[in-house]
């Protein structure tokens, strides 16, 4: 041991722990675990700053790295896991016999379970009252992933989604078995600049 005192031993142990944390952040697959690991990484870094006599940086690291960034990640990831469907048809396509047993619901549920997403069906009055011509704008500007509407002339349910999403292609393949369901893909437009 010799000239190694307790503080530098702790510093070495923390540095080894830091490398383990960095590797496990890359290796882990579960998003919730990764957020906790990032938080732990920041806390270890902050302790190292304190050991190296930089308390100002340590306070900033704790506040930013282990409070604000995890909060932002938690919000973003909890939003990402949802697959939001706007139901404009409002008939027995989704809800049949006062329960989620409609043809469309079964299809969408099978689809979202395949990708481990949470199905979120909404029929907000203000969004539904927008005309069919603004469907593409609706998909681009809000977080709605899919729009369900009914074509009364042909008696076909139309599902509209973005062409840029791989999910839409998978849904199209799954809906091929159904006669009365049609999937329409929006072409991506340049907008914003």
């Amino acid at each position: 041991m010799g000239n190694l005192d307790m503080l530098s031993l702790t510093a070495y142990a923390l540095q080894v722990l830091l490398i383990i944390m960095a590797v496990s952040i890359v290796v882990h697959k579960n998003n919730g675990t990764i957020i906790i690991l990032i938080t732990t990484f920041s806390l270890i870094t902050a302790s190292l700053y304190v050991i190296n006599k930089a308390p100002d940086v340590a306070i900033a690291e704790v506040a930013i790295g282990s409070a604000i960034i995890p909060l932002i990640y938690v919000i973003s990831i909890s939003r990402q896991r949802e697959f939001i469907v706007l139901d404009k048809a409002m008939d027995d396509f989704i809800i049949a016999d006062n329960a989620f047993t409609g043809v469309g619901y079964v299809l969408l549920k099978r689809f979202t379970d395949f990708y481990h997403l949470e199905l979120n069906i909404c029929n907000d009055v203000r969004l539904c009252s927008l005309g069919a011509g603004r469907d593409q704008l609706l998909c681009e500007q809000t977080n709605v992933d899919l729009i369900v509407s009914k074509d009364d002339e042909r008696n076909v349910y139309v599902l509209k989604g973005k062409a840029s999403s791989i999910l839409t292609y998978k849904l199209e393949a799954m809906a091929r078995d159904y006669d009365n369901i049609e999937v329409v893909k929006f072409k991506d437009r340049d907008f914003g600049d």
Binding site: P55, D56, A58, I59, A60, A63, I64, A67, I68, L71, I72, I75, S76, S78, R79, Q80, E82, I84, N120, I121, C122, N123, D124, R126, L127, L137, L138, Q141, T142, N143
Partner: protein, 230 residues
């Protein structure tokens, strides 16, 4: 495969260069700056925390641009999350923000303490570790906890950003006030031979302004993220 080998080779070269440059660090290493600031930092700036002495007096020019970068980042986040359709925050049928009751109760207990600690760190920035940026981040975290207590809280982003911009201009004005009194930009506007307590007025003023600006900026970023998903 070739790409990976090239990458590994580049990393090896980088490590070798780093290792060679670390060999003569003893010659490059000197303590002139450290000794000067340790000897005359308190007398020059009136700040016991020498980090704040550098941030708010010796190198205020750098700190101002740092604050400006945060403002630019906030503007970018707002610009990206801007949408044309008004009904963005539509209440979805199944989209209820479920927060556990225990977490809500605990947040209510912790919230005032966090806020008080944030203000403590801001106001004592020239005495103890901390300062405007760190305290502002703590205050912002305290405000963010409010969203867990009440998920439907409405925030006027435009107003917050406007206040932040006005604060930034005010910081610039306070920082360049020294051209009138001392004849040089971006330093303390009190005379160099003023007492430490007098100089502390300037440090506390600038710390409070930077802290408020940082807190508002982080609050805006978080609100933009929160609204994006609803």
């Amino acid at each position: 495969m070739i790409k990976q080998f090239v990458l590994i080779g580049l990393l090896a070269i980088l490590f070798a260069v780093f290792f060679v440059s670390m060999q003569d660090i003893q010659e490059l290493y000197n303590t002139f700056g450290k000794d000067y600031i340790a000897a005359s930092g308190f007398a020059d700036t009136g700040s016991r925390n020498l980090v704040t002495a550098i941030l708010l007096d010796y190198r205020l020019f750098d700190s101002l641009f740092e604050a400006g970068i945060l403002l630019i980042a906030v503007s970018g986040v707002i610009w990206i999350s801007k949408h044309e359709i008004e009904e963005k925050n539509a209440q979805f049928m199944l989209d209820k923000f479920n927060t556990p009751d225990l977490f809500v109760t605990f947040s209510r207990l912790v919230y005032p303490l966090m806020l008080a600690f944030g203000f403590y760190v801001i106001i004592n920035g020239h005495v103890s570790p901390g300062g405007g940026f760190q305290g502002g981040a703590i205050v912002a975290t305290a405000i963010l906890i409010l969203y867990y207590i009440d998920a439907d809280k409405e925030t006027n982003i435009g107003l917050i950003v406007t206040i932040e911009k006005i604060l930034y201009i005010a910081i610039l004005l306070v920082a360049s006030l020294s051209i009138v009194t001392r004849g040089e930009f971006f330093t303390n506007f009190f005379a160099l031979d003023a007492s430490a307590d007098t100089k502390a007025i300037y440090l506390v003023l600038l710390n409070v302004m930077i802290g408020m600006k940082v807190a508002l900026g982080l609050w805006t970023i978080f609100t933009a993220f929160l609204k994006e998903g609803r």
